[in-house]
Symmetry: D2
Subunit: 281 residues, 4 copies
């Protein structure tokens, strides 16, 4: 039987679970997983339900559940699990995050289509092509940034991209594009935010003499390195480490943290509540 | 408004969430947290729901929900959150886990009443009394074990104990008592099980030359150190460590792991499914 | 045979190890542990050697090694291991770090004498006295800070204190006192520095939506929360956490991180090189 | 100036550091790093020294230091750091450890030559060749194992291999070959040893209901999964994990743990003392 994922968020109120689960019973759907969260800060209820039902099209389920969702004032959507999300990867020259994401996709670690890699450098073309992914070289200068970002939006549209992953992409995205990609663009920053924003965070970390280095996956916003955090992790360092050895150790953390965030996004597990995220296990 | 915790488990089937959440709607209850799990191995559905409702007695809620639970073939119970679980602590001579649990209770880290500490040694009497907890010295020899265990059951009964915590208790419990305390007695073993069962696990760990030591909180069963695992953690060691320094480092892990398991049990977050546990966050 | 600890630092140069180890051979000393580090940034060599020798007084060894140290331009010192360092603890109202340090001292986890607890609140007097430690209530207002700090220096002098531990002490220390205690005063800050300096770091962390909280032990300097870092660690949090639950989870991290730093200081394992620390295992 | 690495182990005795460091002074060598350990259990002293000296050949240094080493009863060797160790990788069908090691070698993360990959399956030939590494398909059946192992020894000899890495190699090596490769063959086992030896450790882990899974890098010995441990790490799992999802999560741990062990071996940081290892940072 096909498996579907329902995402729903609405103002917190009595009866949400009852209404939606009753709706699923009426569809003869069997709940496989259900995660819920009532956020006291924003008074918002979030729900992700994975269920199986003898229905072919997600739109049929959405139509059936829409009256209930409307009554709750809810935003919601249903996706067939075997119709994976589609991600566009933005990269520059560093290949470790790109290789890692492609490996995980290839090995079936997460259901995710990656139709296209876009880069402001041509270096990683072969990596993309060898993995069966299209590659577009999209150089960016101060003058051409508007055109480059327009082209990127075209590509997002053309390839029906659900979300964008900045896998160590070394260009700053305009506030306007950030706005258009809200909740749909994930960046990996190579520090434990809010420490060491901006350029060369490992060098900043070495200067400060920290005993742990970290990485942070977050949604892109117009304020640099201030976006809502999805995942973070750290690794120990000692006085023997240099900024260069931190760069090397940090790669392992960056890969893991970014892949966790991308997996969560691909599986519709993240809800954006103001400046904070709910990430269901 | 009073807050209640509902625990329910039943054969996995369609409509459980709908039925129970509908029952809560009919009681005018507002769900604050809801955790669910369908276990494919045992085909069992587990649910823990925290809700507020303008009702005084848990028994009223149980009566109202019983027809639905019965129809589902479910085991269930409701507890008022401000009527905490009651734990009896069993100790011997090591005080680190006892002190840690008492500190966490005193500081309100988990809602848990600890009316009594029982020990086969008199050493920790003052620790208990200073923390406002009764202490009973219950020596155990091979000959007196049956009487001692009878006395323990009496005390469990008399003090209306919900569960027992073996906080580094150095006596083996009889198979019969293990059976009577199934799912209600938590032990801390000072190794990463299944490695290093039995006596002197840190010395075994040193002999084997491991690079991490660990601790495991598990339900007590008749087979020594084979009970269902609730929580585990580890700490790094190096070639510089001796068995003695592992004992010292291990104390920190033991404390943390046991306190996590006790907190989960006190908050009704654990479901025992055969030999495995579900532990809701 | 008595065991001694030698600490030495000097401009990095050829022959330091040869000279000092030859000096130890001439004293018939047997090296038990030896840790060395050549810091490229400051071109400084640091060495900590633990050895046994049939000598009673550390001063005899210092006299014997002084010509070699002088020739190297080194700062050095020798301490008999069984004559422990002496620490003064500064606290306010939170007791978790104080209790933890006293427990570790009592259980012999590190060799450290704690003759005195000083606090700007009277609350923790009983905790100190029960552990056999003197307690002085030293209230601090804006007006009395200079006198209070003078009194503190008197106490440090009178009790022959080697270093001061700010175990969640909630007063800011004057720049002058910071200067006088350089490398001899350890603070625990309840965040992963450099993130969330200043007041209420867990509340800041919650606002920022981080997925890990942390704690940092560092030397006190005149710039608040900017001192050289000795130890750091983190714990995971989720969207379910509130600032209050982060405070609770953070206590476990604070305790561990501070105790590691105090142990390292008590065992003469830390070298302060500019704004960074070398911490030998 | 060329940089060299000296490894030395000998019966623990007074004057080892003095003798060797004096020998280095006489060669005008400048010590960059020095790590030492006196093992109480085996009464063995281990030392690894990294130094720079205006000498071309390691053999010149070995000749100069030999009289001192002989006097100490020491086993020792000197290697020029820019003449890397040579490893042969043994694989079967799983590619994650192979890809990871090749990536780290390619990116200069550790100085290591990998001239050859040998496999009992042809599947990973392209991976090897694409990374500029020779590949030999060496099928093994019960009957051909002796010839296959002879061929392997030939290849080790021909390619001047320093050590062998079993990067998820799914064949058991004969006791005789284990003996010949003592301290020179590193295996990754996909469990936290000593738990879950043998086949399908993640399935064993799932059955046992552990809350952490792990991986262990160890030297190969004739007793399966009983060899001296070099590196271990763990990752959290929950009741939601299946054996299959543990396999996926475990890959990340396996990669990291094996790469740490290979890096340590490539940098001459490991000493084998009986059944235990010293691993210098």
């Amino acid at each position: 039987m096909p498996v579907f994922i329902l995402r729903l968020s609405c103002p917190d109120q009595m009866g949400v679970v009852a209404s939606i689960s009753q709706g699923l019973v009426e569809l003869d759907a069997n709940i496989l997983q259900n995660a819920e969260f009532s956020d006291p800060a924003t008074v918002t209820f979030c729900m992700r339900t994975r269920f199986e039902v003898d229905v072919f099209e997600a739109s049929v389920l959405e139509d059936a559940l829409r009256p209930r969702a409307t009554a709750l004032g809810a935003t919601f959507g249903v996706r067939r699990e075997d119709q994976p999300r589609r991600a566009l990867l933005l990269v520059s020259r560093y290949d470790h995050c790109l290789l890692d994401l492609l490996y995980r996709r290839n090995s079936g670690e997460f259901g995710l289509d990656i139709p296209l890699v876009v880069s402001n450098h041509p270096d990683l073309r072969d990596v993309a092509l060898r993995n069966g992914v299209d590659f577009e070289y999209l150089p960016v200068t101060r003058d051409t940034k508007p055109q480059a970002e327009s082209r990127l939006l075209e590509l997002i549209d053309k390839h029906q991209i659900d979300f964008v992953v900045l896998a160590r992409y070394m260009q700053i995205i305009s506030a306007e594009l950030c706005g258009r990609l809200e909740g749909r663009a994930i960046n990996i920053h190579h520090s434990f935010l809010p420490g060491f924003k901006g350029a060369k965070p490992y060098h900043q970390a070495w200067e400060r003499g920290v005993k742990l280095i970290g990485a942070t996956a977050h949604y892109v916003t117009a304020e640099l390195d201030e976006g809502p955090i999805i995942s973070q992790d750290v690794a120990p360092v000692t006085h023997r480490d240099t900024a260069e050895s931190m760069v090397v150790k940090g790669r392992d953390v960056e890969r893991l943290v970014l892949s966790r965030a991308v997996k969560a996004q691909a599986e519709d597990r993240i809800f954006l509540l103001g400046h904070r995220t709910v990430v269901f296990d």
